[in-house]
């Protein structure tokens, strides 16, 4: 298959109108996911994202099996996972072992539920790898509301959460409620994972919740530039991915993951070049300072 036949842009406008809700959903998730991702990386929670998404998948598959609302199932699974990780895994090592145990358990349950589910195979596969389902109006409204709640909640706790993530010892000395913040953030993370699973699939949630922020952190250390870049990268990846997927009539996730990954590669190259010039710039004044002090 050559690339020319991979994408078909005839009737593109008409198809786009049909999936307008999915496009909106992807854009919202890209932006909020990018911002959440910054905190995910600063708190070293990339593995937790994966664990939460697997339990979210189990919840969604369970809901599919019993004929309940898939997003509600995904949300229940994700929040349960977030709570367990938050309460049982206060320290990094404990946390990783809790996640390592929860993840296969969740994935196994999910596969069992899907095997028992008599419906269409496309629905099953979609939960793992994402799909451009015709997201109906109530669903897109719900997704926007949940994303807005996550965004607002995150902004409200952003400053003490950053303090606790980056400078935990002094934050504790200054009375920042580390435990409560940790659980609150994991719950917000659970919510955004639950809505992401529906679009990009449980296996690839990391592409929206980790990759854009990881790319942004390669090129800046500014607490303003990094979140803005991460949101931009998330938006470009999610929106670009879904627009290309429509033309190709293929699943959306490979496009999102590929765009995310390419952005990250470019940022790494840019970042390593900058790192070298910065090292030169910083090193020379330090020498001056030592000379000053001894003079």
């Amino acid at each position: 298959m050559d690339l020319g036949s991979l994408f078909d842009f005839s009737d593109y406008g008409a198809i786009l109108a049909l999936v307008a809700n999915s496009v909106i959903a992807a854009a919202v998730l890209g932006v909020v996911g990018g911002l959440v991702g910054v905190m995910v990386l600063q708190r070293d929670l990339a593995f937790a994202v994966h664990g939460i998404s697997e339990l979210s998948f189990a919840g969604a598959a369970g809901a599919l099996l019993v004929g309940a609302d898939v997003v509600l199932g995904a949300g229940a699974g994700a929040l349960a996972a977030a709570l367990l990780i938050g309460v049982l895994g206060a320290r990094a090592r404990e946390r990783n072992s809790v996640i390592g145990v929860l993840m296969p358990a969740g994935l196994g349950l999910g596969i069992l539920f899907l095997a028992l589910y008599p419906g269409r195979a496309a629905n099953k596969f979609g939960l793992l790898t994402g799909q451009i389902v015709a997201v109906d109006d109530p669903s897109v409204v719900r997704l926007i509301v949940i994303s807005a709640v996550v965004l607002l909640g995150l902004l409200v706790i952003w400053r003490p959460l950053s303090f606790d993530s980056l400078d935990p010892e002094v934050a504790a000395a200054r009375g920042v409620p580390a435990r409560a913040l940790s659980v609150a953030f994991l719950l917000l993370l659970g919510l955004i994972v639950a809505v992401s699973v529906q679009i990009i699939g449980a296996l690839l949630v990391l592409a929206l919740l980790v990759t854009p922020a990881a790319a942004a952190l390669r090129v800046s250390a500014s607490p303003v530039v990094v979140p803005v870049l991460a949101m931009t990268f998330g938006l470009v990846a999610a929106l670009g991915g879904i627009l290309l997927a429509i033309a190709a009539a293929l699943p959306v996730s490979p496009f999102i993951t590929t765009i995310s990954f390419l952005i990250w590669v470019v940022c790494r190259i840019v970042g390593s070049r900058r790192g070298r010039t910065r090292a030169r710039r910083v090193r020379s004044p330090v020498v001056e300072e030592t000379a000053e002090a001894t003079a």
Binding site: R159, L166, D167, V170, S222, V226, A279
Partner: protein, 292 residues
């Protein structure tokens, strides 16, 4: 601090901390005057860091009380500045020098995270006070240990504290850097009138500044001027085993003591010239200082 008129920045009265049958310290009384510098010394596990945690309201006492400027110790007291030991930040941390200082100004505040104009001006003033303007926008991870500790002092001074708690702030700094950080503490004392409680395993870098020494060992303690406490007979009694204090070129060295072997290991890192003799160590106590 409105409630503090007349009350000392720190008052510890009859304080005791025990875990099970093990007593770290008991009957501890200490009134810190404004501008006073008290060094807390003692071997690893003597409860030096636990004392700081108790003052910060993070560690409940078994008995007695601790008051900060007249009110009981509590979590998140704005009247206390805290300087931890320098630890390298992982590369790729989204934090510039000025952001670390800004945590001291508004890091505990919930709400939309846009920096207020007043916060920026405050951070600029603090950076200027410790002479860190030049690298204000550099990532913290790219700075030297001494530069990072200057930022730590600025961060701790953000709330105009009447009391500065320092937990091994000079550890892993070279001698020139130690002197510069100690000088900043001295300025905070003389110009701001801040009292300093300074936990350390080695009193030598700040020996000129120390007003009193609190020496913790084996559930007992001694409080007094350095020349009253850092003496062979006093420390021998405290440890219950013969201990000698040597003076060498303006530095104090403690010889002997129950944990001499650990101390000898420690010196190899910090006093390479003196680390050959087993049991010789800088005043006083041994270990890495990070006991919890």
């Amino acid at each position: 601090m409105t409630s503090g008129a007349g009350a000392p920045p720190l008052r510890i009265a009859g304080a005791e901390l025990s875990f099970g049958t093990r007593t770290l310290w008991r009957g501890l009384d200490l009134d810190l005057q404004p501008g006073e510098f008290v060094a807390v010394l003692g071997p690893n596990g003597a409860g030096k860091t636990s004392l700081l945690r108790a003052v910060l309201g993070l560690q409940p006492l078994s008995d007695g009380r601790i008051e900060i400027a007249g009110h009981p110790a509590r979590r998140g007291d704005r009247g206390i500045g805290y300087v931890p030991q320098q630890r390298p930040l992982p590369p790729g941390t989204a934090l510039r020098a000025r952001d670390l200082v800004a945590f001291g100004v508004d890091g505990t505040r919930f709400g939309l995270p846009w920096a207020r104009r007043g916060t920026r001006a405050r951070v600029d003033a603090l950076l200027a006070e410790v002479g860190a303007e030049r690298y204000a926008r550099e990532p913290v991870g790219s700075l030297s240990g001494g530069e990072q500790q200057r930022l730590r002092i600025a961060q701790a001074l953000a709330g105009d504290p009447a009391l500065l708690l320092c937990d091994e702030p000079l550890l892993s700094l070279d001698l020139a850097q130690q002197a510069r950080v100690a000088e900043l503490l001295q300025t905070a004392r003389t110009e701001r009138g801040a009292a300093v409680l300074f936990v350390t395993h080695d009193v030598n870098p700040v020996l000129d500044q120390v007003d009193r020494v609190l020496y913790l060992a084996d559930g007992r303690h001694r409080l007094g001027a350095p020349e009253e406490v850092l003496r062979g007979d006093v420390l021998s009694e405290l440890y219950g085993t013969p201990v000698e204090v040597l003076r060498s070129g303006g530095r104090l060295l403690v010889v002997g003591g129950p944990d001499g072997a650990a101390a000898a290991h420690h010196e190899h890192e910090h006093l390479p010239g003196l680390g050959r003799r087993r049991g010789v160590r800088p005043v006083v106590g041994a270990g890495e200082g990070g006991e919890r």
